[in-house]
């Protein structure tokens, strides 16, 4: 091993990866995308405690989420995929109604759950494609979150009589199914590609890690809200009753709850 290490040579250190990547070596830190109080999609830049909203890109957003590399957006009549620059990657006509999104680990593919038709649509990196869906009987309850743990599997988080159930289904309709109750977990709920579950309890946001450990982030929570993924380690909290928007940092060791600006200069 020692001799092998000795053979490693770091031959060059560059500040600019411009030849290999589309991004400059030094750039404003991008925090992802947010849905503002006018239901418009806006890029967000900055750091924890220092947020800058970019210009409005599109309006009439019903739901949106961003993985760090791609985003999904639902308007009243369309499902849209976009890249980190906000560029349209693909779209599909869909029925009006809310949508819930989940990204695969790596963030390049995603699932959208369309509540109106109880329909799953997969973004496969270049186009939308319908996904098979569990039978309605096993789907009793209200879907409050979804996860995309592997390319062949979907997890539905279903609320049944105040209890959240985690239901795992194969996307191709073949394979094992499982379900378990998640005690102490409440809606609104967000499942991140890391396996983290984000939910609220009195006065705090709870980050339940994949290993079942929990981190509580003290937060002045609004009465009713939704959670949407902003980036790999950022979640947006949208207050239904006001213009207030919040950002939750979920990265281990850097957890925090912040308010997003309502206006940009």
């Amino acid at each position: 091993m020692t001799s092998f290490i000795a053979n490693i040579a770091i031959v060059c250190a560059l500040l600019a990866a411009e030849g290999a990547r589309a991004q400059p070596a030094i750039a404003p830190p991008q925090l992802g995308f947010v849905e503002d109080s006018a239901h418009a999609l806006r890029p967000a830049y900055g750091l924890a405690g220092n947020f800058i909203l970019g210009p409005r890109m599109t309006g009439e957003v019903v739901a949106e989420a961003f993985s760090g590399s791609i985003g999904l957006l639902k308007t009243d009549s369309s499902l849209v995929a976009f890249d980190a620059q906000g560029k349209l990657l693909g779209s599909k006509d869909v029925a009006p109604g809310p949508a819930i999104f989940a990204f695969a680990s790596g963030g390049a593919t995603a699932l959208a759950y369309l509540a109106a038709n109880k329909e799953l649509v997969e973004w496969r990196g270049d186009a939308f494609a319908p996904s098979s869906f569990p039978d309605q009987e096993s789907m009793a309850g209200t879907v409050v979150a979804i996860a995309f743990p592997s390319p062949v599997e979907v997890t539905l988080f279903v609320e049944r009589k105040d209890t959240i159930w985690e239901l795992r289904f194969p996307l191709d309709a073949a394979g094992a199914r499982s379900q378990k109750a998640l005690l102490g977990v409440h809606a609104p709920l967000l499942a991140l590609p890391t396996g983290d579950l984000i939910y609220a309890e009195r006065g705090a946001i709870v980050v339940r890690r994949a290993d079942a450990s929990e981190v509580r982030i003290a937060a002045p929570l609004p009465e009713s809200f939704s959670l949407q993924q902003m980036n790999q380690s950022w979640v947006q909290l949208i207050d239904f009753n006001s213009d207030a928007r919040f950002a939750i940092q979920t990265a281990p060791g850097r957890e925090g709850f912040y308010r997003l600006p309502e206006q940009s200069k």
Partner: protein, 455 residues
């Protein structure tokens, strides 16, 4: 011939008479006058004056003649111009000044329009304002002065009967918002010769505005006026949740009052930022987190012990990523502005996130953070094997000053930055376990220790 001439002189003026209309003017209100007009009730010695306006819709001057046939109680006090200009008006006034009790009549002729004037004089008790020796005349104005809202100013009115017989005052009424009374006596009130009963009228304004009312004594009308004054605001201060100034912080402001407010007020809280970094004029991330960018409305209601800011008890703001001074200015109506400052001192670079990723033939080290001095320069990277031993190549140093200066001169992100360093590697990158990154600015060096390298 004579009859034809009379007809001529009668018809010509009539063509003009038909083009005028007579109004009374009360304050700014014009009221068309019919065939009769009452001057109301006065006491002997009072004068009731009514203002008249004569309007014409003609495109030419209309001759105007005003005549009064009176028994002496009525008199034209101010004369009208002999013409009513086109699309304009002419003014005159008539006084009713009875010298004794009784009913009085007169006929006012305005061109061909005859108006019957009536007025009544009632022998009544004289009314004097306390502190004065002069009886109030009809229409006199009693000014209660400027009174703080919620406070009460009372005036005492004194009846006097200088006759040899008793007089009766049947009713006294007070009207108008802010005015109340009378108190002190009950009506009807019999006043014997030489007696001087009194009553009070109170003025209690509820806002800092002018007030008007009337005092009516057996039909005799007196005007009441007063000015409401907003009470002085208690001292308001600008309090920060944290007085420690630092970049990339979310802080909040409250505005407590030195005591419960007796009045209401509105104003603004503005924030301004003066960077201490040479050549930098602003940092757009320095802003309020709710409402407009750097301005919030402030309001105080009676009973408040703290102002509301943008409708809330506090307002959050963020401090940006540039060293400098944030100045908050509180401006409340009729009060001198108050200021509070929060100094954001220059600091070493803050690394917010740091990651390292292994790729085929390369290692990418990325971190985000901020440099509130805009002086970032030297980067240093040290790679370690899986056991944590530094690789033999030692420290890689990169002078990134020019790139940082170029970035800071064009970005709208203040001192915030994300940096990506790419290292080309020959050999098995899986044997490189971690990297330590250092970045230096004018305040010192910041180190991100042993960033694990992931796939």
């Amino acid at each position: 011939m004579i009859s034809r001439a009379l007809l001529f002189f009668t018809l010509i003026p009539l063509s003009g008479f038909a083009q005028i209309q007579v109004f009374t003017l009360n304050g700014s209100t014009l009221t068309a006058v019919g065939s009769s007009l009452s001057f109301g009730t006065a006491a002997p010695g009072d004068t009731i004056e009514i203002q008249f306006r004569v309007q014409s819709a003609s495109r030419k001057d209309v001759p105007l003649t005003v005549k009064l046939s009176s028994d002496g109680a009525f008199v034209i006090q101010c004369l009208a111009a002999p013409y009513v200009p086109p699309d304009a008006e002419s003014a005159f006034c008539v006084d009713f000044s009875p010298t004794a009790a009784g009913s009085f009549t007169a006929t006012l002729a305005v061109n061909a329009i005859d108006i019957s004037l009536t007025g009544t004089a009632v022998a009544g008790a004289a009314v004097t304002l306390s502190g004065s020796t002069t009886p109030l005349s009809y229409g006199a104005t009693i000014n209660f002065g400027s009174v703080t809202t919620g406070q009460t100013q009372s005036e005492t009115f004194i009846f006097s009967n200088s006759s040899n017989a008793s007089l009766t005052v049947n009713s006294v009424t007070v009207s108008g918002a802010g005015f109340s009374g009378p108190t002190g006596v009950a009506f009807p009130l019999t006043i014997g010769p030489g007696q001087q009963p009194s009553f009070q009228v109170a003025f209690t304004p509820q806002s800092g505005t002018p007030y008007q009312g009337t005092l009516t004594i057996d039909g005799r009308v007196f005007n009441l006026t007063g000015q409401g004054l907003d009470p002085p605001l208690p001292t308001a201060t600008i309090d920060f949740a944290s007085n420690v100034g630092a970049s990339a912080q979310q802080n909040s402001i409250t505005i407590p009052l030195s005591s419960a407010s007796q009045g209401s007020a509105t104003g603004t809280l503005t924030m301004a930022f003066q960077p201490s970094v040479a050549g930098v004029t602003d940092d757009p991330a320095v802003q309020f987190l709710s409402g407009p960018f750097r301005m919030a409305t402030v309001s105080i209601a009676p009973g408040d012990t703290a102002a509301t800011i943008g409708g809330q008890s506090s307002i959050q703001f963020q401090t940006g990523t540039t060293a400098g001074t944030i100045t908050f200015t509180l401006t409340m109506e009729d009060n001198p502005p108050q200021q509070a400052t929060l100094t954001i001192p220059p600091a070493p670079i803050d690394i917010n996130t740091a990651t390292a990723v292994r790729e085929l033939g390369a290692l990418n080290v990325a971190f985000s953070g901020f440099d509130n001095t805009y002086s970032a320069s030297q980067l240093a990277f040290t790679f370690y094997d899986l056991k944590g031993k530094a690789l033999s190549q030692g420290e890689f140093n990169v002078n990134a000053g020019p790139q940082f200066q170029k970035y800071f001169s064009s970005t709208q992100a203040g001192g915030a930055f994300a940096l990506l360093a790419n290292f080309m590697v020959s050999g098995d990158t899986s044997q490189v376990g971690s990297v330590t990154a250092q970045i230096t600015n004018s305040l010192g060096t910041t180190t991100a220790q042993q960033i694990p390298i992931t796939n």
